[in-house]
Symmetry: C2
Amino acid sequence: MAVSETQSQTDLEFVRQLGQQLRVDSIRCSTAAGSGHPTSSMSAADLIAVLIARYLQYDWARPKDPNNDHLIYSKGHASPLCYAMFKAVGAITDAEMMTFRQFGSRLQGHPTPVIPWVDVATGSLGQGLPIAVGVAMAGQMLDKLPYHVWVLCGDSELAEGSIWEALDKASFYGLANLTAILDINRLGQRGETEYGWTTDVYRRRAEAFGCVPIVIDGHDITAIDRAFGGALSNTGKPTVIIAKTVKGKGFSEIENKEGWHGKALPPDMAERAIKELGGIRHLKVKTSKPESGTPAMKRKDGSATRAALKLPTYGKDDKVATRKAYGDALVALGALPDVVAMDGEVSNSTHADEFAKAYPDRFFEVYIAEQQLVALAVGMSARGYKPFASTFAAFFSRASDFIRMAGISQANIRLAGSHAGVEIGQDGPSQMALEDLASIRAIHGSTVLYPCDPNQAAKLTGLMADLDGISYLRTTRGAYPTLYGPSEAFKVGGSKVLRQSPKDRVTLVGAGVTVHNCLAAADALAKKQIAARVIDLYSVKPVDVKTLREAATVTKGRLVVVEDHYPEGGLGAAVLEAFAAEGGLKVAHLAVKGLPTSGKPDELMNAAGISARHVVAAATRLLAAR
Amino acid sequence: MAVSETQSQTDLEFVRQLGQQLRVDSIRCSTAAGSGHPTSSMSAADLIAVLIARYLQYDWARPKDPNNDHLIYSKGHASPLCYAMFKAVGAITDAEMMTFRQFGSRLQGHPTPVIPWVDVATGSLGQGLPIAVGVAMAGQMLDKLPYHVWVLCGDSELAEGSIWEALDKASFYGLANLTAILDINRLGQRGETEYGWTTDVYRRRAEAFGCVPIVIDGHDITAIDRAFGGALSNTGKPTVIIAKTVKGKGFSEIENKEGWHGKALPPDMAERAIKELGGIRHLKVKTSKPESGTPAMKRKDGSATRAALKLPTYGKDDKVATRKAYGDALVALGALPDVVAMDGEVSNSTHADEFAKAYPDRFFEVYIAEQQLVALAVGMSARGYKPFASTFAAFFSRASDFIRMAGISQANIRLAGSHAGVEIGQDGPSQMALEDLASIRAIHGSTVLYPCDPNQAAKLTGLMADLDGISYLRTTRGAYPTLYGPSEAFKVGGSKVLRQSPKDRVTLVGAGVTVHNCLAAADALAKKQIAARVIDLYSVKPVDVKTLREAATVTKGRLVVVEDHYPEGGLGAAVLEAFAAEGGLKVAHLAVKGLPTSGKPDELMNAAGISARHVVAAATRLLAAR
């Protein structure tokens, strides 16, 4: 028996019915798909019903309205509930809801922003809340709009450290506009969670992390209503609503039973469940629209501002580290009102501190919490800002899963990793990024840039401001000679030929610090009457195939590729992948083999086999093998 | 004026002098190096002085003694203090201490296990404590020995979520043999930490996370003494000692001053500091030796056990997923007493649950906390066990920095990542590992294996038990035909040629699920009278260059490489890197281009361009381009 009516939002009985509808629809769409998480949806259905009927302020027709509240499903596997909610608010039809998980449907197994009402992709647990912190910080500290950020979390994901990084930052920055709703349904994927229904553990932890905890029965509509009202009236602190719920709530055959995580009900069970839940309904919720308001911070810069943008330049005699040039350029980019920056307590090393001094209102100190660092960038990207996040390149690996998910979110974030490679010297291998080119190149939609001099670093930083997707700038600790003039132009997918002649017999390809080694090697080879072409392959992804191809043609396929990175997946792979279909290359690939130690940069590059003398030797061997 | 004498360990004045010596030596070695972290060492000097003089039970002559306590510098940048401690206990000479950070010295910028008294590499903050949890769990639950695990943490690293994952697991498993010593010196790298000296924040959090917090003045020798004594008498819970300290303590010019993080004192300042600290001393500490005892769990299996090891086998008609074969093989490996397993609350998907049922005492549920999952494996590896850690392949990216550091630790850990690639189907991209081959191949000392059938998966799992370093098994969600007989042999660095004839005109290279696509493609090509060689490149790192070379010779360099992974850094790169120096290949590289969605496995492989028909088309194009 189908019910179809629009009712007053203040009617608690309506909300109860709405909760049942969300359950029924979660079952219907997942049973149709043959997979999905109905039981994890059913536990949170009453929470979502109260939220959308009585608290959420959202104009479904205008998902980009800056005044909209945000609702992030950190427990992304509750996607049936999310999509059932979209139906209930009239954003999608019942028919579309039933395409759940089918090839070609935008209603994927876990929500992604291909759906206009979804801010970010979730599905890797413990990420929705940290990203929501970024959205809430944008609202409170940049937009200065009264929107509220609601996050639905599962209990299993509370074991992720990133959840505690998020609550820590939320309270540190006093994000009263953030409410985490914890759906404590006791059961994880393979049995009971760590703390089951011991909600007091979560209450004490949330409180210790500076939040206002509210413990409720997550199926008591009145209690939920009171808790959400309380969350909106809190000041100075985020709210954590700890809702004790029942997995599979509403269908007695599976309620609170193990073995039903992530399983669609077979059709016969689905039929019984829908009957027990009161049948199929088509209730429509009229969500409150947000009040109108204009963000305090402009997101779009006028073309006048952009034209006036003055990136720093450096003279031929300057010896300035690329990380310093990054900081200088970031300050210049501050003229664009939508540029924001964040750093993991190393801003005096990454030089993001220069931006912090120039634009304190748009700089965010995340302390040593790299997952939250990237999540903050993703959250602010969801609000239309242009975030630049920085830390040591090695420590972005702490946030690899967040970067991976940002790729799926198609977020526009910029990462600047300093202190790459053995070049850092004395600090030793723990501080050396030697895997970052491989891991970030493999991220969907990523751009990887690696400058060798300060003019180039500044220009590439400038380019990043306009790049979509995940862009990554790899910077170097030490200062090396300035190779380019202040008016030199660079582009994504570009490269620079630093030495060339028609008589070139071998091509030396470097990026970042190894460009300098290649130049020194070319000089040494010239003394042996061997003309060597030198390519600065600063755009590691995408690579400049055309320039490489020309060089390969001239030098009969002989390339020495040298990188301050482990041998796998980095600059060498980028070159080889670009030529995969063509063949014809004979590459001597110099990379960091073996585990580095401490020492002076020169000693370590020498030990790693990537110094100028190794380039010379490799080039000579290539020529001898002719 | 140098003091050199051996004194009673019970003399508190001796401990005070020892603390001053540790400060002086921290200054001396870092000033000699011209870099390092003397101030972060000075804050913790009194804590370490009391520990080594009065509590630590350690036989420095026998670092492998299973009864030794463990002392892990989670704040690895306090390496000057660590090395000054080694001098004080007589493990190294003063002269060696002065080689700090020099090329060739084992006393690197951050401690690594090239030093026999160091369990694991630290330097990436927030890792020492989670790893210590693994060491403590081994002690309490496997070895059943009374050793204590002491961890020195900094305050900046308390912002890392991994610290809270660690304390959560430490209390969940009741690790009373673990004491975290928090050196709250107020100052991080670039200024004050989040909470400065507000030790109450840490006290409340530690308590909420189930630990016994003890707040002390970290320079009050008596208070420290009482706190350590208290830690040893706690039962059922780990202890967290929150020590309020002063950065640079003991040298009035820099005490509690900003701008002195990670800076060696210039020689003149060092001279003044040493004077203020009472001059150079050469006090010797006689650390208590541990009581003797034998671990309950044997680490070495007899050869009889190994010979009797019966890995599972599967018949030609079985269709068994490789992840299931992993679980079956893990159960078989349980016959080796040193094999342990851990999983991130997905053991019913990774099939580690089979081991959990068979060997509950050697299985550890880490819940959804992948950083702690890998850290637990590293900690148990440090105690000589053979850990197998499993989760979805995509979620190992959450622990990338831990895997990176495990490479530097030269830890012997085994990772099994299930649900790789678009093959997983309906769950969508958040659950698909599509970057893992790139990122894990780039880890120092890693081995990467990717089976395509259950007999192979079981054999490779068996091989992993004897592998050093980081080994990674990539398994597939779905079940595919069994290709190999039960007696087929596999090896690291091996491959299998599944189709071959002298008339082969093109080579199809796959691994895992794409091997099946290659076979189907070879069948289709055969119908077009095109003989294709098929190589199962199950050892992705290292690759079998010899077999590839033979195939390339026969098929005139024409290779189709197809992988269920993004295009960068994976199987394609592995093949291309292997041939870098030789050239002569013309590779059609099929990989997952574009962002996948949800759908059936076949639909998604088709959309990604890695299905059999794409292999056929690529092979045909290669031949046409001849």
